[in-house]
Amino acid sequence: MDGVGVAIAETLIKIVRGYLFAGLVFSVPFVIFGIQRVDPSVKGWNVLFRVLILPGLSVFWPLFAVRLVRGKRHPVERTAHRLAAQSASHP
């Protein structure tokens, strides 16, 4: 077992842990306070729902951080028909 391999593995593990931990630090307050600004369908105090989405938020947190900072809501999907309809109404 070479020291370089161990050092690389340790560094990668630290990076992943750090990213997920940072995600958790962002996500816990976000899921309590900020989430309704991004998705108005989050209603009431459904604690279990908020706990369920926490692991995913810890992975995709930069996406939600950007939306929160820019004051944007979640987008609507882009399919061929939606794009065609959009370009027809705004030529």
Binding site: V6, A9, I13, S41, F49, P55, F60, E77, T79, A80
Partner: protein
């Protein structure tokens, strides 16, 4: 969706589904361990749980991957499809227990995972040992199969973590689906994990045959289902000078059902109901399910996958729901002349913005 998210929207069928699923998983683990114990009562069976949980996850993955193409081949499989996500999350937890074990306070089921079993109690952090224990990264046969498992587990984690409908809305269905297509990468990694791992130690031919048959079954089923879809999508219809596409006759469409045609790079569902014709984009906003395989129930187009509903004339979900899909202008040729059933249906090639009201063509 605008009625607020629930943690899990259990209904009677979902409850039955989950009970059968979990009972089967529990039976598999229990029988696996009991049979192992029965081989020789002197045998120390600690560590065999790693195999029980690992094989359970791998088998369940085959079931999960079969449901998709089977549902394309026959709608009878839809009752297995609608709650497939619970199967996926269950499979993730089986794989997780395979790796990290199970040791919850107050729970009698305690097992050791492969990470502890093989990598702990040594002179390195088990997680570091996992990556550097076998360092033959440049070799095919000697390749560290553990890493393939780590990759698959990471994909399963992301899929399980984003399985709630919240993620469909916030990532949008096409991106969510692309992300969940990662299951095929994970399946490939797992086949490698099993072939380069367990099969190298277990030389019993039946094991190799079983993994091979599983692979042929999964690939074959997908090719079969996929080839049908490709044929349909190839038959793209082009508009005539007035911008309308001839999609066929009224007689071709059963009552409350749709004919699916491909226009403007995507499928369009042309529904016949109450003596009227309406056309909407075939793509359900929830999970991009095939609305054209749905049915008009209580005046609403109902998606065959999870039962999301849309009003046929405006492509909007009935309040309080807020989903909206693109609609298409329709007209009938030969109004008032000849048999009604021979009237041809024309759909405008350019879709209207999602939720736009369109007067249905009256037969």
């Amino acid at each position: 969706m605008s009625v607020g998210y629930k943690s899990i929207q259990w209904n009677r069928q979902k409850l039955i589904y989950d009970l059968i699923l979990w009972a089967s998983v529990a039976a598999y683990i229990a029988i696996f361990m009991a049979v192992t114990k029965g081989i020789d009562s002197n045998l120390d069976i600690r560590g065999v749980q790693i195999r029980a949980y690992g094989s359970a996850a791998f088998l369940l993955l085959h079931v999960i991957l079969s449901i998709g193409p089977l549902s394309r081949l026959s709608p009878k499989f839809h009752p297995l499809l609608f709650n497939r996500r619970h199967m996926g999350v269950t499979m993730f937890f089986l794989a997780l227990i395979h790796v990290v074990g199970l040791n919850l306070p107050g729970l009698p089921l305690k097992t050791t995972g492969a990470l502890t079993w093989y990598h702990d109690f040594g002179n390195l952090d088990p997680l570091v040992s996992l990556f550097v224990g076998n360092s033959h990264y440049g070799d095919f046969i000697q390749f560290p199969f553990e890493i393939l498992g780590v990759g698959a587990l990471a994909i399963f984690f992301v899929m399980a973590a984003t399985s709630h409908d919240f993620w469909l809305v916030n990532l949008t269905a096409p991106i969510w689906k692309a992300l969940h297509m990662g299951v095929y990468v994970a399946y490939g990694l797992l086949v490698g994990h099993v072939v380069l791992g367990a099969l190298q130690s277990n030389r019993h031919p039946a094991m190799t045959v079983a993994v091979g048959v599983g692979l042929v079954w999964i690939v074959g089923l997908h090719l079969l289902a996929g080839s049908r879809e490709i044929k349909q999508d190839k038959a793209t219809l082009s508009p005539s000078d007035d911008g309308f596409v001839d999609v066929g006759t009224v007689a071709e469409i059963p009552d409350n059902r749709a004919k699916v045609v491909t226009i403007s790079g995507e499928r369009v569902a042309v529904f016949k109901y109450d003596g009227k014709i309406s056309a909407v984009s075939n793509v359900c906003q929830h999970q991009n399910g095939p609305l054209g395989e749905g049915k008009v129930i209580d005046g609403c187009i109902t998606c065959p996958w999870h039962g999301y509903q849309y009003l046929p004339d405006c492509g909007a979900s009935p309040p309080p729901f807020t989903e909206r899909i693109p609609t298409f202008d329709v007209r009938l040729a030969g109004d008032g002349q000849g048999p009604v059933e021979d009237q041809r249906i024309f759909v405008r090639a350019i879709p209207n913005a999602p939720g736009t009201h369109v007067d249905p063509a009256v037969i």
